[in-house]
């Protein structure tokens, strides 16, 4: 019974379907849902037999490790993964040792050469664009900032890269660039015309609407004069906005993602600017790369100056400011993902 052969390799040689597993962080974040959908379409094009797996929730390293092992046992040729944390590094290495190609999406592992290559947004850059734009918008006014991060009980690279990137963009000294919340709570920002700033809060919104709302409420209760809100992603921004609305306040909201819903929020003025990511592109590039390598082709190269392949980021805003590249919500809507 042990040697019944591997059906996927007993096909017609080079043109046989190859097995690939896509492992995302979870299956509920619209971003990953879009990525899964895109990957499924690309799979057919590339004659790939795709299996979709994910952690149960953000932080579920073990779920990803299990999915990696499953892929090895299934005889897949490659893995596309948005690595949860460094906790899955060893398993990715194990997969590569077993002869699979492992490509990271969305989140570059540390060190980057743990995988064959990464296709990701430059999250630091994404935050940075938000920060620069916000500083320019304030036009010298004092900044009263709410930071709605991802987690308060786990440390994840996207979380600090975006948050700290945002503050760097504002021109605020971030102290440890890999640690949220250790910067001075008041001081001067140097972006735009420069001015004074107050950080009211670092609250975790769990990357979701309801969490975003609760987090923002806490911030507002501490200081009702908040005029600038950074949010880790768009679901969080939606919740933060609901809270502002309920309190009868307005503030500039910046975010990351650029899903179609997010772009629409930019258009309606709810979100001031959002850094658009391209999950479908990540999936497509990843899928093509694996299909190619597995059939004897070459590995793609990383972007210059980075240890991953930058799938790009564009700031979507209808209030363009000088010195910050951006696209309008109309343009953003043409290339957005999700609904």
């Amino acid at each position: 019974a042990c040697n019944r052969g591997d059906s996927s390799s007993s096909g017609t040689g080079g043109e046989a379907a190859i097995g690939v597993t896509l492992i995302t962080k979870d299956s509920t974040n619209p971003f990953f849902v879009a990525m899964q959908k895109g990957a499924k379409q690309d799979a057919t094009k590339n004659n790939v037999k795709l299996t979709v797996a994910s952690g149960k929730e953000e932080g579920d390293d073990q779920g990803q490790i299990t999915a990696i092992e499953d892929a090895i046992a299934r005889g897949d040729k490659g893995i596309l993964i948005t690595p949860m944390s460094n906790g899955v590094n060893a398993s990715m290495t194990k997969a590569r040792d077993a002869g699979l190609y492992v490509i990271a999406l969305d989140t570059p592992p540390d060190p980057a050469d743990t995988v064959d290559i990464t296709f990701a947004t430059d999250n630091r850059q994404a935050g940075n664009l938000d920060g620069k734009w916000a500083a320019a918008q304030l036009d010298g006014k004092p900044a009263v900032i709410a930071l709605i991060d991802l987690f308060d009980d786990k440390i994840v690279s996207v979380d600090y890269n975006r948050d700290q990137g945002f503050l760097e963009g504002m021109g605020i000294d971030v102290a440890d660039p890999k640690k949220n919340g250790d910067e001075a709570k008041t001081g001067k920002y140097t972006g735009g015309k420069g001015g004074t700033y107050t950080i009211v809060c670092n609250e975790a919104g769990q990357g979701a609407e309801d969490g975003g709302r609760t987090a923002m409420e806490r911030c507002l209760a501490k200081n009702p004069n908040i005029n600038l809100v950074y949010t880790i992603n768009e679901p969080t921004a939606v919740g933060a906005n609901a809270s502002l609305k309920a309190a009868g306040k307005t503030a500039i909201i910046v975010s990351v993602d650029g899903g179609c819903a997010g772009v629409a929020s930019v258009e309606s003025g709810i979100v001031g600017a959002t850094s658009q990511q391209y999950p479908l592109k990540m999936a497509t590039l990843g899928m093509e790369a694996i299909a190619k390598i597995a059939r004897g082709g070459e590995k793609p190269k990383t972007s210059p100056g980075l240890d991953f392949y930058n799938t790009g980021v564009a700031l979507v805003t209808d209030k363009k400011v000088d010195g910050v590249d951006s696209i309008s919500s109309d343009e953003g809507a043409k290339i957005c993902w999700g609904n």
Partner: protein, 340 residues
Amino acid sequence: MSNTVTSAAAEFARRQHSPVQRVQHQLHARPWLSPLFLLFVAFVVFFIATPTFLTANSMGILLQQTAVVATLAVGQTLVILTAGIDLSVGAIMVLTMMVMASLARDGGMPGLLALLIGFVLALAAGALNGFLVTRINLPPFIVTLGTLSVYTAIALLYSGGESIQASHLPGLLNVLGDGFAIGGFRLTWGIVVMVIIYAVVGFALSQTAWGRYVYAVGDDPEAARLSGVPSKRILLAVYTVAGLIYAVAAWELIGRAGAATPNAVPDANLQSITAVVIGGTSLFGGRGVLIGTLLGALIVQTLQFGLSQMGVDQQWRVLATGILIVVAVAADQWIRKVKA
């Protein structure tokens, strides 16, 4: 010798009327007085610690933050009173929310109809739990663990995992996020609905035969059965009603989050169970009062809100919340037990 007896009795009678004894008697008769007292202490401490805590605005927010979990916890209380446990709380809520929102999206269906379909669905989901518990005789933990996965998967498959923004939804689905202000104190309709649910279910539990059966079935199922309590019918009703209540929570959540989203309140199970248990209801069933659950939900939320107002850092807040939960329940036990 009769002397001894009389004096001991007299002494006892005297003790009965000491103020401490009287307080103790009240605490026994009204077990929720003690968590209420703890909540009060927390309020005083946070009031002293931070100026932003005890403001009309903050209090309104605190209530809004509590509403969804407090509503879910009503259903959870019913189930736990019958010595069950419901792990599908969050799954039913999310499923209902996604179905309501998808149906009504961009005017696809009138809000009222979508809402009703959502309610019926939640009812059916709860009834399925009840059916599996009563007819197939499976432990509630297993049943709801299974349906947790099933309902979650259906919600995701049905919605494609995408959230639906409030702007695409009819006003009725959003209305529980709206409200009115009394001074700076803003009440949403969601809070009002939550209070009504507590009132109605609280009444049913304490004033009707149905309520007694719920307690009886949970406390001693065999005795209840032998006494002629229609145990299976009661259990089925409990899970079904719980489903319905989760639908209300779904409605509240749409209004609150400004969107219907498949990954809302991921730890709804633990949060709702926590409110119930901190509220003094026994996980072994048959003992507890509903108002305790509301207080339990408020205590947890107050700790988190208060600590965050004090500017306590995130990790430290987790640490402090953990310690405070234990301390609060220990204090609760201690207050109830004090002997004169």
